[in-house]
C-alpha cells in the first residue's frame, strides 16, 4: 500500500513539474562528448545528500532552465549534467570572474540506486536530481539446525 501511495505521489510530482515547465528529462544514453568540444566549461558546484529512499544531487547552475539543460545517464559513463548557456552579451568585457560559459559535471552512481527512475527539476538556476534507491530484498532468516 505504501508503495502504491509513493508511486502516485511521484507521478503527481512529475506532472506538476511538467506543468510548471521545470521538469528536466534524464536521457538514458551517454553524453555526446563532441558537443563539449570548443566549449568553455565551468564545473558546477554540487551538494549530494542521501537518505533511506534516495540520493539527491543539488547543483548550482545559474542560467539553467529546462530547455538548455541536458541530463544523460549511461550504465558505464554515469550521470552527466550539461547546461549550454547562451553566449556572452554584446559589448566589451570589462571584468570577468565567472570563467567559462557552460556548466558541466559528471558522476558515477552507486549500484543500489535506480538511475532509470531519476527525475530532475531546475528552479532559479539550481538543478536538483533525485535518484531513488532500488528496493532491497527483505532480510532472510536462516534457521540453524543441530547436527
Amino acid at each position: 500500500m505504501n508503495d502504491f501511495i509513493e508511486r502516485m505521489r511521484n507521478a503527481f510530482r512529475r506532472t506538476a513539474d511538467r506543468v510548471t515547465g521545470r521538469h528536466v528529462p534524464v536521457v538514458t544514453s551517454a553524453a555526446p562528448v563532441e558537443e563539449l568540444e570548443n566549449r568553455r566549461l565551468r564545473t558546477a558546484p554540487v551538494d549530494i545528500y542521501e537518505n533511506e529512499r534516495e540520493v539527491m544531487i543539488v547543483a548550482d547552475t545559474p542560467g539553467a532552465f529546462p530547455d538548455n539543460t541536458k541530463l544523460h545517464w549511461d550504465d558505464r559513463a554515469g550521470l552527466s549534467i550539461y547546461v549550454q548557456r547562451g553566449g556572452e552579451p554584446g559589448g566589451t568585457r570589462l571584468w570577468g570572474e565567472a570563467l567559462g560559459e557552460d556548466w558541466y559535471r559528471s558522476f558515477s552512481l552507486p549500484d543500489y540506486v535506480d538511475a532509470y527512475e531519476a527525475r530532475a527539476v531546475v528552479r532559479g538556476g539550481v538543478l536538483t536530481i533525485q535518484v531513488p534507491k532500488q528496493a532491497q530484498p527483505a532480510p532472510v532468516s536462516i534457521p540453524v539446525t543441530a547436527s
Partner: protein
C-alpha cells in the same frame, strides 16, 4: 537533514529578514561586467536566491548588491548566507536609467549611460 519519511527535495531555502541564532556565511558571488555604447551590464550568479532576498541600489556613485538567505539544514541550526558586492560606478551612468532583473539564478543590472556620455555620430556636410 531530516530523513524520516521525508523527500530530500523538501529542504528548500527561504529568506530571512532577521536570522535568529544563525551562523552567517558571507558569500561573494562571481560577477562579469560588460560595456557597450548604451550601457554597462553587471551579471552576477545567484543560484537559488529569490528576488525578495536581494537588494540592488545605486548609492551616490556606488552600485550595491546585497542580500541574505537562510539555508535550512535539518536539525542543525539554520545557516544564513549573506551576499554583498559593491562597485564604483562612473559618472557617465544615468541614475534614472538603472534597472535589474533576476532570471534563472542570474542577476543582470543594467546601468544606462547618460545621453551626454553616448557616442554621437557627426554628420559630415559637403561645402
Amino acid at each position: 537533514m531530516t530523513t524520516e519519511n521525508t523527500s530530500l527535495s523538501q529542504h528548500e531555502a527561504t529568506s530571512l529578514d532577521q536570522p535568529q541564532e544563525a551562523q552567517v556565511v558571507t558569500v561573494t558571488p562571481p560577477v562579469d561586467i560588460y560595456e557597450n555604447q548604451d550601457e554597462i551590464l553587471v551579471v552576477a550568479d545567484f543560484p537559488g536566491v529569490p528576488k525578495r532576498a536581494l537588494s540592488v541600489r545605486l548609492d551616490r556613485s556606488e552600485l550595491v548588491i546585497e542580500g541574505m538567505q537562510a539555508v535550512p539544514e535539518g536539525p542543525t541550526p539554520t545557516r544564513a548566507l549573506a551576499f554583498s558586492r559593491v562597485f564604483r560606478v562612473p559618472k557617465t551612468v544615468d541614475p534614472d536609467g538603472v534597472s535589474a532583473e533576476l532570471a534563472h539564478g542570474v542577476l543582470r543590472v543594467h546601468l544606462a549611460k547618460s545621453e551626454a556620455a553616448k557616442p554621437k555620430r557627426i554628420e559630415v556636410r559637403s561645402s
